[in-house]
């Protein structure tokens, strides 16, 4: 019965179900492995980062794969999400005891803040044709990092203290706390992220993006990507739909940032975690996983997050091996000869499957 349903289903729906099933199955397997004690601490520590990068990759895929606009500043949106949410939880952690509520508020704040910046950037840039979005998002990522590095906000019983680039001027009373301390970023963030929370976030976000791309709006977005002039001629409001997709994409990256910030007890805006390289890394997840395939993004993000850690045994050579693996994966996925070979193998599988069925 179930099989019949699966066959009569639309191809895209089936595709979605496979993705959801994949996430849930992996989650169950991992949980069983944790409870039975078969998972090393290293792996357990990697679970949340894997979720984080999967989420951000999904967000960027919406922008690159469906909107067709290149963004190389998604680490910037992640950064906004991370800092705004960490700021918020640090402020509220004394008044709200329930961790779930606190985390939900953090997610809301981080997502909205990132969406706001995405929207702001999108207004002028998405009206243009060409690669302007790439340039502007690149600049945004660098600017936001530097702005956070000179931002000082503290709180004590006299209220809030603000300073820009001159943290020394803030005279804090004994029991005052630093909310953002310039280059030191935000320290002592409550640890709220967990693998379960990450997986739930992935599922919710998958639900949102799948519905988005299969809706009227999503089809309009893809029409713009495929042929802007044709889309315009049938009366699609180009800027509006582009802006909508880009804002959602930024918001998802922000949600990833929330998960990132609450996994580590400290968050700083350094070139390694929110810089240009991270943006490119996320783009690599998307390109490797296949543009337009959210499932691919998740798989690529997971594998590429795991890889450098699994290769730790190779010491200093691991980054070398890592890049070689990256090239090999890229070839395996996209080189015409490889695709041919994979199709041949798949065809063989199909044949034998048919034989078995017969």
């Amino acid at each position: 019965m179930a099989k019949l349903n699966l066959k009569s289903m639309k191809k895209s729906t089936k595709d979605h179900i496979i993705t959801f099933a994949m996430v849930i199955v992996v989650y169950i397997i991992v949980q069983t492995m944790i409870t039975t004690g078969n998972m090393s601490s290293l792996m357990q520590g990697l679970l949340v980062p894997m979720c984080t990068y999967s989420i951000v990759a999904i967000g960027l895929n919406l922008c690159v794969g469906y909107l067709g606009e290149l963004s190389i500043g998604h680490a910037g949106f992640m950064c906004v999400g991370a800092f705004s949410s960490a700021f918020c939880t640090k402020l509220l952690q004394d008044s709200i005891q329930n961790e779930v509520i606190l985390f939900l508020i953090a997610i809301a704040v981080g997502t909205v803040a990132a969406a706001f910046f995405g929207f702001l950037i999108g207004i002028p840039v998405l009206r243009l044709r060409g690669d302007y979005l790439a340039i502007v998002t690149l600049a945004f990522g660098e600017i936001i990092k530097n702005v956070i590095n000179v931002l000082y906000i503290a709180k004590d019983e006299n209220g809030f203290h603000f300073a820009i680039s001159d943290g020394n001027k803030i005279e804090l009373s004994e029991d005052g706390i630093w909310l953002i301390n310039g280059a030191k970023g935000i320290a002592k963030i409550p640890h709220l992220s967990s693998f379960t929370a990450g997986v739930i976030m992935i599922l919710v976000i998958l639900f949102i993006v799948y519905n988005f791309v299969n809706s009227r709006t999503g089809r309009a977005v893809m029409a713009i990507r495929d042929n802007r002039i044709a889309a315009e001629s049938v009366g699609i409001n180009i800027t509006k739909f582009k802006l909508m997709a880009f804002t959602i994409s930024a918001a998802i990256a922000g949600a990833g940032g929330v998960l990132y910030a609450h996994n580590l007890s400290t968050v700083t805006a350094t070139p390694t975690n929110f810089g240009y390289n991270m943006s490119i890394m996320i783009l690599v997840f998307v390109v490797l996983g296949g543009m337009g395939s959210f499932r691919g993004s998740i798989i690529a993000a997971v594998i590429l997050t795991l890889l450098p850690e699994v290769l730790r045994g190779l010491k200093d050579y691991r980054m070398l091996i890592y890049s070689i693996v990256l090239i090999v994966m890229m070839l395996f996925n996209w080189a015409p000869k490889c695709i041919e070979m994979r199709q041949r193998i798949a065809a063989k599988f199909k044949k034998s499957a048919k034989k078995e069925a017969a």
Binding site: S40, M43, N146, N149, N168, T270, I299, A346
Partner: protein, 400 residues
């Protein structure tokens, strides 16, 4: 269908990786399976060696510091083993790379836990250290950092520092300049995106007010703009600063010295421990560093026996002159040794028991190391040792 197959393969691969890692940890040490199960690290390996882990950037931009720390720690561990170990137990040391990134540092920490680490010597840089300190507090593991100098690092009871804290260094520098009347007008050039640099700068400026000299310019740069310092230098020059305080690392400092020379601006330059190493910068005319003063706990050509033995060994093994980071790491390992001897712990105890015992012992010990004689520790985790003022004379560090 093709998609389904490829997805299945990918899923299988991912699960395989998980499983592979899980089982390898099982075979690695009998204790760790139990430890992952209970979520704490009460693994004690086979109970015959102390396992000390080290975390620091051995690749990436800060690799110089991480590598120095790991090399020096290895030297210390080898020495201890040669001399019969700690309380008769041999010591094993394993270093993991974190690329100076908080997230990777936690990964490195977890991977060392899988290896059976009992004491952590790390991390080298501040931001990762804050993240890792949180994890060690959860596990009750004893941690001593050789060089993470922010006060945020030692907020947890189980974490100790082998280096000065940033505020201490800033205050000490200001006091030194004030007491020796080196200048009346001082300019500061610092890296606002770096925790170490901005930490020193903040307390330096605060203390300057009490020391009878004036800070006429506070010029910042960031990690993204550290190749040209002409604007900062011009500002310092036009304000008439006769001393420029550089609480930064030596790579940038060498550029500053070069550019100041090009401008014909000749104030006294004054640095902190990050300045150590400037004479080894490639293609840098060391005559420019003549007269440069620095406050540092360690100089490689000091003439005491201990330093000389350490430096010659380091050169022999790694072909390089050790810097202050290495010296701090060397001392950190000996501090661990002293604490273990004081507490009388044995390797078969659980990680958290060792942690508690060592935390207590730490305040009672006194270590004569490379970076100071009679180093002692406060319960807060701060070390107390005296900074030494050095000046570069005839292309060599000389004590003042």
């Amino acid at each position: 269908m093709k998609k389904a197959v490829s997805m299945f393969l990918a899923a299988a691969l991912a699960v395989g990786t998980f499983a592979g890692c899980g089982s390898s940890a099982d075979t690695g040490s009998t204790g760790s399976a139990a430890s992952t199960e209970s979520g704490s690290t009460d693994s004690a390996a086979d109970g015959s060696v102390f396992k000390i882990g080290g975390i620091g950037p051995t690749t990436g931009a800060a690799a110089i510091y991480g590598s120095a720390v790991m090399n020096a720690a290895q030297i210390a561990v080898d020495e201890i083993n040669e001399a019969g170990g700690i309380n008769g137990y041999q010591v094993e040391f394993k270093a993991e790379d974190d690329q100076s990134d908080a997230e990777k540092s936690v990964n490195a920490y977890n991977s060392l836990k899988d290896w059976g680490m009992q004491v952590l010597m790390g991390t080298v840089t501040t931001t990762p250290c804050i993240a890792v300190a949180d994890k060690t507090a959860e596990d009750g593991m004893f941690e001593i950092t050789p060089s993470a100098s922010s006060t945020d690092v030692i907020e947890n009871d189980n974490v100790f520092q082998a280096c000065f804290t940033d505020p201490n260094l800033g205050t000490a520098s200001a006091q030194y300049i004030g007491e020796n009347k080196l200048a009346t007008k001082v300019a500061v050039i610092y890296d606002s995106s770096d925790v170490y640099s901005s930490g020193i700068e903040a307390t330096f400026v605060k203390e300057a007010a009490n020391q009878g000299f004036e800070v006429v310019a506070e010029e910042a740069f960031t990690a993204d703009s550290k190749t040209d310092f002409s604007t900062q230098l011009q500002k310092a020059q036009s304000e008439g600063a006769d001393l420029v305080f550089l609480p930064i690392y030596y790579t940038e400092a060498s550029i500053i010295l070069n550019q100041a020379n090009g401008m014909g601006y000749e104030p006294t330059f004054f640095g902190c421990d990050g300045m150590d190493g400037i004479l080894d910068v490639k293609n840098f005319d060391t005559s420019l560093a003549e007269g440069l003063m620095l406050l540092t706990p360690f100089v490689a050509d000091a003439d005491d026996e201990k330093t000389q033995a350490f430096v010659s060994k380091y050169k022999e093994l790694y072909g390089d002159t050790p810097n202050q980071f290495g010296a701090d790491a060397y001392d950190a390992i000996y501090a661990i040794k002293a604490a273990i001897e004081e507490a009388g712990v044995t390797p078969d105890m659980s990680v958290s028991d060792i942690g508690t015992a060592l935390t207590e012992a730490m305040t009672k010990i006194s270590v004569d190391g490379l970076t100071g004689d009679g180093m002692t520790w406060e319960a807060t985790g701060e070390v107390s040792k005296a900074p030494k003022a050095m000046v570069i004379k005839d292309g060599a560090y000389t004590a003042m």
